[in-house]
């Protein structure tokens, strides 16, 4: 049965279409891409996002199961807010058995399809468009709860990260926080004086065409509810918890 929940796509500005699909778990899945594309604005992304070629993150990425869902905890703290620029991003790949860390340095990641998602502090990039050579894209279902999303809506489009203009000027999101690029997965948070989770559900389409649903449950190791309800920052920031499940495997 097709999902009946209403959905609304939050498409990134200057959207690069990663692929259209209306696949369900019973449909054949076609790869979106199988060869890496050249990332534009490499010089700029290295400086703007403080990418490193001599450091590989050893941050914890732990996946457990909760019913039909995977829950992946990613230590995206990167040494704390003040030190984040000096530390590498954490790279993650989604597999049939859960999400796992990919040990790769930031600059090599710009030429690699081996990862799907990169995290540092509150920024989550997907491997495609401005962020990487693959074609991972996302659609944000602003009016559907995570549990209500049981199938991939017909005709849905996936937006890749697209946060550079044609002349490689960075496009920031609307958070008001400087240096926060307008990534395809930006709808998971807002900033009312702390990083509050929105509970938005995203569909993420990987390069092989498979789709997963995903929501970010927490950014703070403790005190996420306090942030969401009172706008006061929680403790242990950058401890991201992802709840996700395959839609097409």
């Amino acid at each position: 049965m097709r999902a009946s929940a209403l959905f609304f796509l939050l498409a990134a500005c200057g959207t690069d279409k990663a692929g259209d699909s209306g696949s369900s778990s019973n449909d054949a899945v076609e790869a979106v891409c199988d060869q890496p594309a050249e990332v534009s604005c490499v010089d700029q992304i290295i400086l703007d996002l403080s990418l490193h070629d001599d450091k590989i993150s050893d941050a914890d990425v732990d996946t457990s199961t909760d019913g039909d869902d995977f829950v992946t905890a990613v230590d995206a703290s990167a040494g704390g807010y003040q030190n984040a620029a000096n530390n590498p991003w954490v790279y993650v790949k989604f597999t049939e058995d859960g999400a796992e860390r990919v040990d790769i340095d930031d600059e090599s990641a710009l030429e690699s399809m081996d990862w799907d998602m990169a995290l540092r502090r509150f920024i989550i990039r997907l491997n495609g468009g401005s962020s990487g050579p693959s074609c991972v894209g996302a659609a944000s279902l602003l009016e559907s709860s995570y549990d209500d999303v049981t199938e991939v809506p017909e005709g849905i489009s996936y937006a890749q990260d697209s946060y550079y203009t044609g002349d490689c000027t960075i496009i920031n999101d609307s958070s008001g926080l400087p240096g926060s690029p307008q990534v395809a997965l930006g709808a998971w948070w807002e900033y009312p004086n702390c990083v509050a989770t929105t509970g938005v559900t995203h569909l993420v389409q990987l390069a092989d065409g498979h789709v997963l649903k995903l929501t970010v449950e927490q950014y703070y190791g403790s005190g996420q509810d306090t942030c969401n309800e009172t706008n006061s920052p929680g403790e242990d920031s950058g401890q991201i918890s992802l709840r996700w499940a395959w839609m097409t495997r």
Partner: protein, 464 residues
């Protein structure tokens, strides 16, 4: 930080309006003290949430802290005037009336609660020049300053320079506005630790273009660019500071570096020469300071962060415009060479020996490739050597180059493969080496030292 540029003349809120981001509370009882020259007025609370330090050690009937702020601020303004800077625009200049009760420059001492220690806030602007007021911390309780006097010196000299900048252009990018404000601190008080601390922040991240600080809130890197402006002052004279501000008039943020480049040219030099020299001065800092040409305070800052180290260096580095990358090589003695089969045009490298005490010496060789490069420095004694690589010009893109530094085995890894010639005339043999100061293979140490002496003599130019 200056961020507000208004086209109109509607003036911004002030702390005693109770509506500014950092304001006095309705429960505060306010007073003020004027500086000795009447050029500065300091507003403070004698009772209430923002009460300031009320000690009156000299018994003059005024709290010492606000009085010190007023006196120091007037001294700072007089000092900047003596350097040739314009004074901050006054309220009268923009027809705002006597904000704060007089035409004096107003300071407000409010409680930042640890979130900041002070800032210049624009009242109104005409075009891209602005007048404004200063807000600084009311008591500095819980801050890291060693004394109130140190805090007053740092805050007044730094933030008042933002007011000076606003008389030229309030639209300066953070790397320049903050860097020159920290530079100004150092001009006013050469012993202030704030300057040295921020210089260290720059020296930890020299691989980044100086005009491309990390994205995000204004970082220590932007403040640390003060070192470059101090370098220019040492090399080109004290007039470079006011000239840079003049060059900012009518200049967009993204043209700020071009304006700095034009000032360097007007002082008889070039960005290529100054930047390459800057990168070498920066090497001779911290424990490496003492022998090679560098800053008078070289031992108090640095050292630079090295990209790689070892008995040989093999790297594939992205050299950004107006940045620098450092490598250390522990050479066992014998032939030493540098090899790159790639086009390294535009880059400048220098090789520096170290003395017995580990201090870096002036460059043994400086070279500017105009294509693939194959250098042999001859037999060199066992020691630590430093390699500096930079791209000393404004450019849109970085230059990514693979290279090798070390003995014959190490350099062979970077030599063009037979049959991989970029020059059909060579028939597949290694291309003819290129470089401004190329030393043919087989040259002996005395010849290298001679070349070193020539290079060093050419680079020793320091204006008062």
């Amino acid at each position: 930080m200056i961020a507000l540029v208004l086209l109109g003349l509607a003036h911004a809120d002030r702390p005693d309006d109770g509506t500014a981001q950092f304001s006095f509370d309705a429960a505060d009882v306010l007073d003020f003290v004027d500086g000795p020259a009447g050029a500065v007025r300091v507003h403070f609370s004698v009772s209430g949430p923002n009460v300031t330090l009320l000690d009156d050690g000299d018994g003059d009937g005024q709290p010492d802290y606000p009085a010190e702020v007023a006196a120091t601020a007037e001294d700072v303004l007089a000092f900047y005037s003596s350097l040739g800077f314009l004074p901050p625009l006054s309220e009268d200049d923009l027809g705002l009336g006597k904000l704060g009760g007089s035409s004096a420059f107003d300071f407000y001492l409010v409680d930042f609660g640890g979130s900041s220690d002070g800032h210049f806030s624009a009242d109104a602007c005409a075009g891209d020049v602005c007048t404004g007021h200063m807000i600084i911390e009311n008591d500095f309780v819980g801050y890291g300053y060693s004394s109130i006097s140190e805090a007053v010196t740092v805050l007044t000299s730094h933030e008042l320079f933002h007011a000076v900048q606003a008389a030229y252009s309030a639209g300066q990018p953070p790397w320049l506005s903050e860097g020159t404000a920290v530079w100004a601190e150092h001009q006013y008080d050469a012993e202030v630790d704030d300057f040295f601390g921020f210089c260290d922040a720059y020296l930890r991240d020299t691989g980044r273009s100086i005009d491309r600080p990390p994205a995000g809130t204004v970082t220590a890197f932007s403040y640390g660019t003060a070192l470059f402006f101090q370098f220019l002052t040492e090399r080109l004279g004290a007039g470079v500071g006011p000239d840079i501000q003049l060059a900012m008039e009518g200049t967009d943020e993204d043209e700020a570096m071009a304006a700095v480049v034009s000032v360097i040219k007007a002082h008889g030099s070039s960005i290529e020469e100054e930047w390459a020299t800057f990168t070498r001065w920066n090497l001779a800092t911290g424990p490496l300071a003492g022998e090679a040409e560098s800053y008078p305070f070289a031992s108090r800052v640095g050292p630079v962060t090295q990209e790689a180290s070892g008995a040989s260096i093999v790297d594939d580095n992205r050299f950004y415009p107006l940045a620098a990358t450092y490598y250390s090589l522990d050479h066992d003695g014998g032939e030493l060479g540098f090899e790159s089969a790639e086009d390294a045009s535009g880059l400048v490298f220098s090789l520096h020996p170290t003395g017995d005490d580990g201090k870096v010496l002036d460059p043994l060789e400086v070279w500017s490739p105009d294509g693939p490069v194959s250098l042999r420095f001859g037999d060199l004694p066992a020691a630590r050597y430093w390699l500096v690589g930079s791209f000393p010009q404004q450019a849109e893109q970085s230059v990514k180059v693979a290279f090798c530094l070390g003995g014959p085995d190490a350099t062979a890894a970077c030599a063009p493969e037979v049959g991989d010639s970029g020059d059909a005339d060579t028939g597949g043999a290694a291309p003819e080496p290129k470089g401004c100061h190329h030393i043919p293979a087989g040259h002996t140490l005395p010849a290298v030292i001679l070349a070193w002496g020539i290079v060093a003599a050419n680079s020793r130019r320091r204006d008062g």
